[in-house]
Every structure is written in structure tokens, then in C-alpha cells.
Symmetry: C2
Subunit: 336 residues, 2 copies
DNA sequence: TTGAAAGCGCTAACAT
DNA sequence: ATGTTAGCGCTTTCAA
């Protein structure tokens, strides 16, 4: 015997007022007398009434739902980020409709369309790309999109990242200063702007220090591929590397495991390793990883802020927000 | 110049048919002639029309949205589970409205109510408890609830877990068989059924083997608390423990780090460590953790299945689904 | 198979 | 400050 949830009509009838009155009581900044408010609230709580968000959205034209698309949930950076994002949005009265994207960009559009069917007020793409078709469609529909931890070169779309180029440069400078001369790089997925920027910054930094990159392998931001990258890098004959910069912490852990357990190397005595992100595990004594800290909380705040700004003011031009990141020096790096 | 998304009326006018006709074309199992379907679809795609899910929900009474509440996102078990859950639900045509619960159970109800405002068709609580008030309210409103990886003793509510008692027992048996005689336990948050069941099973298993628990500390399912638990356990004077069973992998890693780096102990030579969950990191050579594998995918499938069953048939009685779990023996355990 | 009419639950002018 | 009216975009009887 499923008893349906009370409607505003029932509350109105019980109190003997109009449905508009009930509506106003539950609407921010509407004008109602205190006694009306009290009587309505009382009846509402007796009946267990709460406004139907869907019906409200249908008429106000905004759902207070933000679509969030995530791909790399196995990288610890993202659970952290999701938590922060969801927290920020909640504080602002928004909710998160989440979707796990396939890493292959093909199907993302389909899924995005499904999300759009729910009249989301905005869209956050965490390390996910969308077609320029869909970007355009969102623009036309007036739905702001923010790219989180990724930029999309050609597309004229808002993004929030840290300054990955500067981060890469800092790593190069640190390695040079600490006497490393034979450094290699483990790349992430080549299509990712974060990967590209970190590498570009790293190479530029090395060049400034009079060094060149001596070895490169692709780890695709995945554990297994990163392991293989480490093996490939170290099996190249005649090379005596003294440092590896890995495009993110997630892969750096995999690389360190291979160096230690398969190749019997000591870190940092035989080799320094540097990562990127500063996920919590990087601080664990087992890894004690020197890395570049991305300001997750600030990035989340900036994402929520710009998204909501654009929701309020759809004419606003896309911005590219780039936050400073900080080198965190730990035991995986040794001066030589 | 924000161009609004096309409505069914516009499509209807363009084709010269009624809005009902358009609706039928986009409704499963409605009767439309092939030529009607084709003309409407053509016009729809030209105008970029897709049915408004909110308006549809308002009238059909189901939103195809499932509310998902999660608390412990820093435990790697959950990102995995979320991924699996979201995947399962997507396959069945549902979407996930996500919320991060505060670990303090107080505010969960508030948040749940917000989710309910969106007329979700069902609710999944991952390691989160709700008040019996709200449980009752959901029952009355006909909204099925499934507890994922947690049971709620008094409450008559559906849950999906692995057989934590059996898991704990297996651990005890294994430790006994491999000659451990002085075993301690690091507990999770005491309010959690998983914690309680694992400990109960473990104690029962020890008793069957003629052993008793020799030391216990509470790690609350948190890294820092687990570290402290390890310190407390090992600093008890006169004790020569040979094994620690930790209530989940997430804490086990923290415990291992303390044993190795603060206390200078070797695992498993000086001490065996066993965890619970079998998160991906457990297989990494650094930890190589003996643990009890929870069947994440099966649990997710079971959760999605029962939830959707109950959505279709709201009269169905709550069930308590308990899936077998499997002991995974790795290097952190040594026969003595 | 198709169209006309009614209404899901709510809010937003417009009066009063 | 409150009630009346209209309508958000859609689906669903009911007739034809």
C-alpha cells in the first residue's frame, strides 16, 4: 500500500490557503506573512511534504543539478577531487549527476547527451574530452561546461588546471640543481593536455639547465603500462639513468615497484623518482615520493565558482584558469 | 543569444502532426507507423530535439535516477565499487545522483531528503546508515533502498554484502594452520556491521582453533587511526605478536608502514599481516598483502538487480544478500 | 494508427 | 500579503 508523497495541493487544502501560498513558503525571498509561513510549515511537516524538485525545475528552467563526468577513477587524484567538487557544489545548493566515462572518447558524447536530457544547469568534465559538436550544442543551449584538470586546445571552453608547464619546469630545475645528468620521462596518455604540458615544461626546464631528455616511454596514466614503461626504459643498453620523472603519482608508484622489486634498484640511492599530483600515498613512507602538488581544493573551488558564475551569466566568455602548483621534496630524490 | 532546446511541439509543427505522435515515437513500445517514426526522427534530429527527462518523469512518475550515497571515498574499495555500480545501472538505463555523506551519521538524513526531492526511483547507501524514520518514509513513498557493503541490524532493509563472518573465520583458520599463536586485531569503525562481522568471525575462528585474540586496537577505517592502532598494539610490553589481522586493506597498508618504517620490523619474517577487501594495491609487490577478496562486481550486480526488482515490484520483501568471499594468500603471511 | 483533451506538481505574472 | 490564472514539456487516456 504505497502512500504517495504529499503534494502542495494537499498542504494547501489542509491549511485552507492557495497552492501559491504554499509555494511561496518554500521559495527563497518570496513574500509571506510569518503566521502563514508557520501554519504552512506545520502542515507540511505533518504530511511529510517537500516540493517536488522535478516539477519546480520544469517551470523555473533550472534543475540545480550539475553533470559530472569522470574517467580515471583508479587514479587517487580523482576520488579526492570528486569529494571536493561535490562538497563545493553542495554548499552552493547543487547536486551531482555522475557519469563514468569510457576512456575511449567515442562514447562520451552519447552519455553527455543523456545527462543533458536531465536539463543539468552545468557540466564538469574531469579529464574527459567532448566533441566540438557537443561543445557547440551546449553553448547554444546555454549550458556552461568546465574542463577539470584538462584543457582542450582548439575548443573555446572554460578549463581549470594547475600550471602543468611550470610544474614540469620546476621538476627539471630541481633535478639539474641536485646534480642529475641522465634523466628519463614516463609519459601519460599522449592525448591529455596535462601530459603534454608537463612534458613540455620538463623539456624546456632541462634545456635551460643545459640538459636533454635521455629516454622516454609512455605509461598512458595506467598502472600496467607504466610498469612496462619502466622496464623498457631501464633495459635500454648502456644507459645509466640517475632520475625518472613520471607524469603522475599513480604511475610513479608502479614505476618504483618495478625498479625495486624487479630490477633490485634502490630509490633514491641508485635512481631518483619524481611524480606529479601529490596524492595522499605519495607521503607514505613506502614511497616517500618527491612530487608536484596540485591544489585540489583550490581547483575544485575555482571550478564550482566559474561554473556557477557562468550559470548566472551565460554570456561570460570562456576562461582558462591555471593555478600555481608546488614542488614537494621528499625522500625519493637524492642530491648527487 | 541562447537558443533554447527544441520542444516536442516544435517537432510536431515542423512535421505537421500532433505532439502525441512525437511522444510516441520516443516512447518504447508505443504504436506508430514506420513512416511517421521516420519523419519525426528526421525532424527531431534536424532540430536537435530530445525529450525532456524532467517533464517525462513528472508524468510517468519515475525519474530513472538512482541516488547513491558514499562516505569512505579514500578507501579504494569504493571508487572501484562506484565504477561498477554506475556501470551496472547505466546498462539498465538508470543514472546516478551522487552524494558524499559526512561520516558522522547525523546529517545523512538531511542529504537523503534532498536526494528524495528529485524523485529518485531508488537509493543505494554505500557504507552509510540512515535513520529508521527515513527508512520508514522511503518505504511509504515506495522508494526501494539497498545498503551496499553494510547491513543495518534492527532495520528491515535490503542489503548486499559479502559474507564477512565467514571471511573473518577463514582468516583465523589460515593463521592457526600456518602456526601463528599470538594474533592481534585492528578494528574498523565499531558502528559498522562489516567491522562487527569480520571481528566476530575472526574470534569464532580463533576459538575453534583453540586460540584467543591477543590484543586489539581500533583503527576506525582511517589511515591515521590505523597507524596509531599499530603503535599501541606493538608497544604493549611483553607481547611477542606473530600476526595482525586488520579489518580492511586500507588500514592494513597503514599498519604495515608503521611496522616497517617506525618499528623496523620485517613482514612476514617478524610478523604476518592480513587485510580484507583485496583492493588493487594489495597485489602490488610493496605490500603483497594476504587478504580476503570481496567480489566487487558481483556485489554491484546484485545491488543493481535487487534495486531494480524492487522498483518494478515495490511489494517485495527486503532481502539480505550475502556473497561468498575468497581468501587470497600472498607474501605478507608466513608459515611459522 | 493518430489527434484532442486532460493533467503530472509546481511557480510566476497579474490582480486584489 | 494572498488568490487566480496560465503554463513549464511531456505522456496518456479516450475517441475517431
Amino acid at each position: 500500500m504505497t502512500q504517495p508523497i504529499a503534494t502542495s495541493r494537499e498542504v494547501a487544502e489542509r491549511v485552507g490557503v492557495s497552492r501559491s501560498a504554499v509555494s511561496r513558503v518554500f521559495t527563497q525571498g518570496a513574500s509571506v506573512s510569518p503566521q502563514m509561513a508557520e501554519r504552512v510549515r506545520k502542515a507540511a511537516s505533518e504530511l511529510g511534504y517537500r516540493p517536488n524538485a522535478l516539477a519546480r525545475s520544469l517551470i523555473t528552467g533550472n534543475s540545480r543539478i550539475i553533470g559530472l563526468v569522470v574517467a580515471y577513477l583508479d587514479n587517487f587524484f580523482y576520488p579526492q577531487a570528486i569529494k571536493a567538487l561535490s562538497h563545493q557544489l553542495k554548499q552552493r545548493g547543487y547536486h551531482v549527476l555522475m557519469f563514468m566515462a569510457p576512456k575511449t572518447a567515442g562514447d562520451v558524447d552519447d552519455v553527455l547527451r543523456e545527462i543533458l536530457d536531465y536539463q543539468v544547469d552545468g557540466l564538469i568534465l574531469a579529464s574527459v574530452a567532448m566533441s566540438s559538436d557537443l561543445t557547440e550544442q551546449c553553448r547554444q543551449a546555454g549550458i556552461p561546461v568546465v574542463l577539470f584538470n584538462r584543457t582542450q586546445p582548439g575548443a573555446n571552453v572554460t578549463s581549470v588546471t594547475s600550471d602543468n608547464v611550470a610544474g614540469g619546469k620546476q621538476v627539471a630545475r630541481l633535478l639539474a640543481e641536485t646534480g642529475h645528468r641522465n634523466v628519463a620521462y614516463v609519459a601519460g596518455w599522449e592525448g591529455a593536455s596535462t601530459q603534454q604540458d608537463r612534458e613540455a615544461g620538463f623539456r624546456a626546464g632541462l634545456a635551460q639547465a643545459g640538459l636533454t631528455l635521455n629516454g622516454r616511454a609512455v605509461g598512458n596514466f595506467e598502472t600496467e603500462a607504466a610498469r612496462q614503461a619502466a622496464r623498457d626504459l631501464m633495459s635500454a643498453p648502456g644507459n645509466r639513468r640517475d632520475a625518472i620523472f613520471v607524469a603522475n603519482d599513480h604511475m610513479a608508484f608502479a614505476v618504483m615497484d618495478v625498479l625495486r622489486f624487479e630490477l633490485g634498484l634502490r630509490i633514491p640511492e641508485d635512481l631518483s623518482v619524481i611524480g606529479f599530483d601529490d596524492v595522499p600515498m605519495a607521503a607514505w613512507p613506502t614511497y616517500d615520493l618527491t612530487t608536484v602538488r596540485q591544489p585540489t581544493d583550490q581547483m575544485s573551488i575555482a571550478t564550482a565558482d566559474t561554473l556557477l558564475t557562468q550559470i548566472k551569466d551565460p554570456i561570460a566568455a570562456p576562461t582558462r584558469i591555471e593555478l600555481a602548483c608546488e614542488l614537494i621534496r621528499r625522500g625519493s630524490l637524492r642530491a648527487r
